[in-house]
């Protein structure tokens, strides 16, 4: 993949920070492959890309929270060795504003400032830390009105975010030379966001560098001097921010190579399974028919999971007036560890747990039936193991996920709810799952599929795009395009 470079400056010259050939995988998933990046003093760099493009991993590596499998981190022309970690990063002037806040909620803003500045310790630390954090807060967010003595856990999220941002710019013996901000404006209101962006513009003038990771493209277009685009674990474009248009940025972010079969239209149309009415009581917002596969798209955390939970709850109780469900539902989560497998159980028990009622007589499970059911699904879905009686932990991550899908398929549920089920699963396993979904939908099952991977949306009959908890666009497969999805996700159509 050729990197498009238009800024023309020589690499490495005066770079505060450089990454050379950084690669990192988590199990079968390659999070970063061969990433090069350099950041010069006086630069406000925008970093954009889809969910899962590798931005957050890159940031964790820069800050020493995760160490790369291969490649070098070079700070002020010195390559870092394996001792590189947050403590050293702080001393060398690298700061991060993390997306999930990294403040201790039981400590005040003053105390949270202290923990990143060991040199403030000793008598009088309270006064020194207080003036440090207050000065920055006043400078970045004039009129912020934050009580810096109260535990930050008691502050509203916007103020917490301000404290975290201001803290990243505080300087003692530890200077702030490169500040990386991951979605810093996600919980700020628009005036505070403007204050921050203008401060970033000002502060790079005295030689600092800032990396702004954001989904809000307007911020990048208006403020960044250089824009780096990441896609599929690599840097795909590195362009000057001046004169960059929104359309061009969309194009740079889009165009994923497609390698999947598109399923045929199903023949079960017409039988309504799910009908979710909008919060306002308006027209039907989301509907799913038997045999249909419906994708939920949009940026992560914009209400897709909530809809899945709502449909599931409605299928159990039927008390939700805004959500009518005909038939029973089964749920498959991509978060295997937290809401999926029973780690101490066998593969067979993990597959059959959702179907125990049909396997029991009275209160007793029929073990022969149980094993037969598990065995049947192991073959159908091709779980690679010698026996279904082995521990679930003997399987690889992808095969564990298959077992979870088998659990849902083994039930008699007509509606299967997918919560990003292919997260962290390798390509072959994905393809097997896709063909399973295809054949199951031929037999009349319907799928509600939340996915963070754009490619998977092209397998769906219809895609609903979410933004801030609402459906903002609905596309049938023939209308679906990368650009259309992006624009709707950013709600800029």
């Amino acid at each position: 993949m050729a990197i498009q470079r238009t800024d023309g400056r020589a690499a490495d010259e005066g770079a505060l920070l450089a990454l050379r050939g950084i690669s990192k995988s988590f199990g079968p998933v390659q999070a970063l492959k061969q990433v090069d990046l350099e950041v010069r003093g006086g630069e406000l760099l925008g970093l954009v890309g889809h969910n899962g493009a590798g931005k957050s991993t890159l940031m964790n590596i820069l800050f020493g929270v995760t160490s790369p499998d291969r490649g070098d981190i070079i700070l002020e022309s010195q390559a870092m060795d394996e001792r590189y970690g947050p403590a050293l990063a702080h001393r060398l002037g690298i700061r991060c504003v993390f997306q999930e806040l990294s403040l201790c909620p039981n400590l005040s803003a003053v105390e949270n400032a202290l923990i990143v500045h060991p040199s403030l310790e000793g008598t009088g630390w309270k006064r020194r830390a207080k003036s440090l954090i207050l000065t920055r807060l006043h400078e970045i967010f004039p009129g912020h009105g934050i009580d810096v003595q109260t535990p930050v856990g008691n502050l509203p999220i916007g103020q917490r975010q301000m404290v975290e941002i201001a803290r990243a710019f505080t300087e003692s013996n530890n200077l702030a030379k490169v500040v990386i901000l991951d979605e810093p404006t996600s919980s700020l209101d628009s005036s505070a966001a403007q204050q921050l962006l203008r401060f970033l513009q000002r502060t790079v003038l005295d030689g600092k560098a800032c990396i702004l990771i954001t989904h809000k493209l307007t911020e990048v277009l208006n403020f960044a001097q250089r824009v780096v685009v990441m896609k599929d674990a690599g840097v795909v474009a590195d362009v000057s921010g001046a004169g960059l248009s929104r359309e061009r940025l969309f194009t740079l972010m889009g165009s994923v190579e497609r390698a999947m079969v598109t399923p045929e239209a199903s023949s079960f149309a017409g039988m309504r399974r799910v009908d979710v009415v909008g919060n306002t009581g308006g027209p039907s917002e989301l509907r799913i028919e038997a045999g249909e596969t419906v994708g939920l798209a949009g940026l992560a955390g914009h209400g897709q999971k909530e809809v899945l939970h709502r449909i599931y709850a409605a299928s159990r109780s039927g008390r939700d007036k805004g959500c009518r469900v005909t038939g029973s539902a089964a749920y498959v989560s991509g978060d295997r560890q937290r809401e999926g497998i029973f780690p101490l159980w066998s593969i067979a028990s993990n597959i059959t747990i959702a179907s125990v009622r049909s396997l029991s007589r009275g209160s007793f499970i029929n073990p022969v039936k149980e094993q037969r059911l598990a065995e049947a699904w192991r073959e159908k879905i091709n779980i690679r193991s010698k026996s279904v009686l082995q521990s679930i932990l003997s399987l690889s991550g992808g095969n564990r996920q298959k077992a979870l899908v088998a659990r849902a398929f083994a039930t008699d549920a007509e509606i299967i709810l997918f919560d990003d089920p292919t997260r962290g699963v390798d390509f072959d396993t994905k393809r097997e799952l896709y063909s399973q979904i295809d054949s199951a939908s031929r037999s009349g099952r319907c799928f509600v599929w939340y996915t963070t991977e754009t490619d998977e949306l092209f397998l769906c009959d219809r895609v609903y795009v979410f933004h801030e908890g609402k459906v903002v666009d609905s596309l049938v497969r023939s209308e679906l395009s990368e650009e259309r999805l992006l624009q709707a996700s950013f709600h800029e159509a």
């Binding site: 201790c104 039981n106 923990i115």
Partner: protein, 321 residues
């Protein structure tokens, strides 16, 4: 000069603010209620000697509770503190050589720090490790002193009979304990790190701080408080008994919780904990003054604890909504 005095006033003000913050308010109210009830039932107690005798054993529970508080600061829990205090008690009473006894006590504190490191390295739940450790302490105690008895150094038992002017010794001990605990956790910069580890270890690591060091320090502080509690116990009872710590562990948890502490999140109050310990101590006396049969006392004490915690849960919910 004016600046310094203003700073002192500010510090005193913040100490008062911590004392009166909602977290420790409940323990203040509970303590006042219990004291009023005790004085109302036994008016004679409301004088120097009466208070001294009433609170005679309280330093043991106060320091045990502070030990528990340090562990709970790390969002852990210590099920072994009771038998640890008993172990210290038998070391003081059962090992005659002062040098050897002192070395043994130092080893005890080191053992506690090591327990913290073990919990950190192996990522084991503290509840499991300390449950195991409680049997280790008990076993060691029985090895030192298989049967209750032993001799306590004369200077120690004499020290327990000191009568400072105006304020009875146990009250003085309680005040010093509050002050020390508050200074360590809320006035030093190291205390900030110690509280941070209980609420967000990841945030602390990202700030470049060692969570191992913080946790070991908290466990070592707990060990020191446990040793102080055990020495008090030996001095007051003048004997050693490896089984004496049985009820102590849960009383100490109760004291921390009444004092406004939380099981998770690094939220504790040293001032509240000491008052909570006094409440637990006095409610025992109160029940015997009310001639509740000894067999009932544990249940009633437990009932009081549940009531107080229920009240706290309700009042907190109201604050939140």
């Amino acid at each position: 000069m004016a600046n310094t005095s203003r700073r002192y006033a500010e510090n005193a003000g913040s100490a008062l603010a911590v004392l009166m913050s909602k977290r420790s308010t409940l323990s203040v109210i509970a303590l006042v209620l219990v004291l009023v009830a005790v004085f109302w039932m036994r008016p004679n107690i409301a004088r120097y000697n009466g208070v001294r005798l009433l609170l005679n054993l309280s330093p043991v529970l106060i320091f045990t509770a502070l030990a528990q508080m340090f562990i709970m600061t790390a969002s852990d829990i210590d099920l072994s503190i009771g038998s640890f205090v008993a172990l210290v008690n038998v070391i003081v009473a059962g090992i005659a050589s002062p040098g050897l006894a002192a070395a043994a006590l130092l080893a005890c504190v080191a053992g506690y720090g090591l327990m913290g490191a073990l919990i950190h390295w192996l990522r084991l739940p503290s509840i499991v490790v300390t449950l195991g450790a409680s049997f280790v302490w008990l076993g060691l105690g029985l090895m030192v002193l298989p049967l209750p008895g032993g001799d306590v150094p004369l200077w120690l038992s004499d020290a327990m009979r000191l009568r400072p002017p105006w304020v009875p010794a146990p009250v003085l001990v309680a005040l010093v304990a509050m002050l020390l605990g508050h200074l360590i956790l809320y006035q030093t910069s190291f205390g900030v790190i110690l509280r941070g580890v209980g609420s967000s270890p990841a945030a602390l690591e990202r700030a470049g701080r060692s969570t191992l060091r913080a946790r070991m320090s908290l466990y070592a502080l707990a060990g020191i408080c446990g040793v102080i509690a055990g020495v008090f116990l030996a001095g007051i009872t003048t004997t050693g008994d490896a089984n004496v710590g049985r009820g102590l562990t849960l009383l100490s948890v109760g004291a921390v919780i009444i004092g406004g502490g939380e099981f998770v999140g690094g939220i504790v109050s040293p001032v509240g904990t000491v008052m909570g310990a006094l409440v637990m101590q006095l409610s025992g006396s109160l029940l015997s003054f009310a001639s509740v049969a000894p067999a009932w006392q544990y249940s009633v004490q437990g009932g009081i604890l549940v009531c107080i915690l229920g009240l706290r849960a309700i009042s907190w919910r109201r604050v939140v909504t």
